[in-house]
Symmetry: C2
Subunit: 282 residues, 2 copies
């Protein structure tokens, strides 16, 4: 964890100048209503990363939930997200002792962009007692032997990769140079580029932070719009980068699922994700 | 497909007297508002099955979506569901050309019971072109060599099992007599007891229709409340029973995920499900 930069005061009240905290900050407009901003630099080819927008929205939902952590959050993606201000409206469904349930919407330029439903709670200690574990973290070479995500020969600009430090398993990274491994799998390390610790909000970004696993299949490559993304946060990550595994088993018609696992530095599962997405139209 | 019984007229306007259609019928109260009824007989120990309540609610959501099939639906379970009338309120988020997004809530006796968010579309032909398939349907003995779900030595009443015809893989059914297989897996056939064809609404029931996979682990057995269930409908099933596989890989603290696959008689994947649930407290 690096010391806070001197510009911490730039985010009123947040006490943090880590890029992710600045880019997901929200301001209360009225009870349950917030403004935020999709910041430039968290995009892939001009459209904000789905995990980033999810985290931005969940800052607001989490606040009204009164609980510290997302437990299971679902977002439906209704429109792409170029940079600019957004309004986030939340509705408390139920404040429970253990879980609080909140729905919400993100509107940009008057159009619905994201619709959300989430349960929030306290995930501290969620990974403490592992009663059953079938499978473990992906085996990854050390960080410096993995492959940074690149711009795929200039095919697409990925400014997001300056915000996060993603290192791919060498066996899964060849697609960046046109060599697909034929398995619908992408494994790699995930961390924030500026050393921000990965908390449960950061896991929402990690859950959509690697290149799509379908890029390793013999299919048209391009923008793969997410229809819906659900993330189960299973625990608070221990310090350090997390290891991720994303797999796509079934591509039918033009739709596919991508399943994700996020593991912390102690070898504990901290998030499971699944999204329904569409393959690029050739 | 059996011929419609003579009592079809008992469900005004539905044209069907199959039990599932009767038990999920909803009546419009006002624009976007419906009444329905949690019918007795779809429960496990007095509480309605989560897939049944999801299907009941999605009858209303589907109606306002103007589309024939659920594509991806998420439900948060806020309270148990004994039989009785419910009110379902829907809000259209977006009517799109391909997908329409609707949120909704089920209120029973003045208390929130279920909160939903779903996308609806036309899934006809969704399974037509299989571009990538890693994995296949579970290998199951013929129906009559599988084990019907029983009442687990009278431990719990499962009236639901008179509505649906579930036949478990013999290797996964021993838990019913106290012999757990130690793998977090339950595989089996699913059909409606009265021969109703399994459409995409029926898949929502199938996605929660088998006994929990955790019953095959050495953990306390009892009610395993669902926190959240998401179902991706990937295609319209071909006629005949479907084959299901449910697995739980990670039980941490008292929470676990259960992942489901539903395969039709043509060997096509027609649904993927995932739920976050809690293990019984000793």
């Amino acid at each position: 964890m690096q010391p806070l930069p001197a510009t911490a005061a730039a985010v009123p009240g947040s006490g943090s100048a880590f890029e992710f905290d600045v880019a997901t900050s929200v301001t209360t407009l009225a009870e349950g209503r917030f403004t935020g901003e999709i910041q430039a630099g968290w995009d892939i080819g001009g459209n904000a990363n789905g995990g980033y927008v999810l985290a931005l929205a969940c800052r607001a939902l989490r606040e009204v939930s009164g609980k510290p952590d997302p437990v299971t959050v679902t977002a439906h993606y209704l429109a792409p997200g170029p940079p600019g201000p957004v309004e986030i409206t939340t509705q408390v469904v139920k404040i429970g002792k253990r879980f609080s349930t909140v729905s919400g919407s993100v509107v940009k330029d008057g159009r619905p962009m994201l619709q959300l439903l989430g349960a929030f709670g306290d995930q501290t200690g969620g990974t403490a007692e592992r009663l059953h574990q079938a499978g473990g973290p992906p085996e990854l070479p050390p960080l410096d032997e993995c492959a940074p995500r690149n711009a795929m020969n200039g095919m697409v600009a990925v400014p997001l990769m300056e915000r996060i430090d993603v290192r791919l398993h060498p066996d899964d990274a060849g697609f960046q140079d046109g060599v697909r491994n034929g398995r619908g799998e992408v494994r790699g390390w995930f961390a924030f580029a500026d050393g921000r610790p990965i908390d449960t909000l950061g896991l929402l970004l990690a859950a959509d932070g690697l290149p799509p696993a379908v890029f390793n299949l013999d299919l048209p490559q391009g923008w793969v719009p997410t229809v819906e993304l659900t993330v189960h946060v299973r625990g608070v990550p221990a310090p350090g980068p997390v290891r991720c595994r994303f797999t796509t088993r079934f591509v039918q018609g033009d739709s596919f699922e991508e399943d994700g696992e996020v593991w912390d530095s102690q070898g504990r599962l901290v998030a499971l994700s699944r999204q329904l997405a569409l393959i690029a139209r050739g």
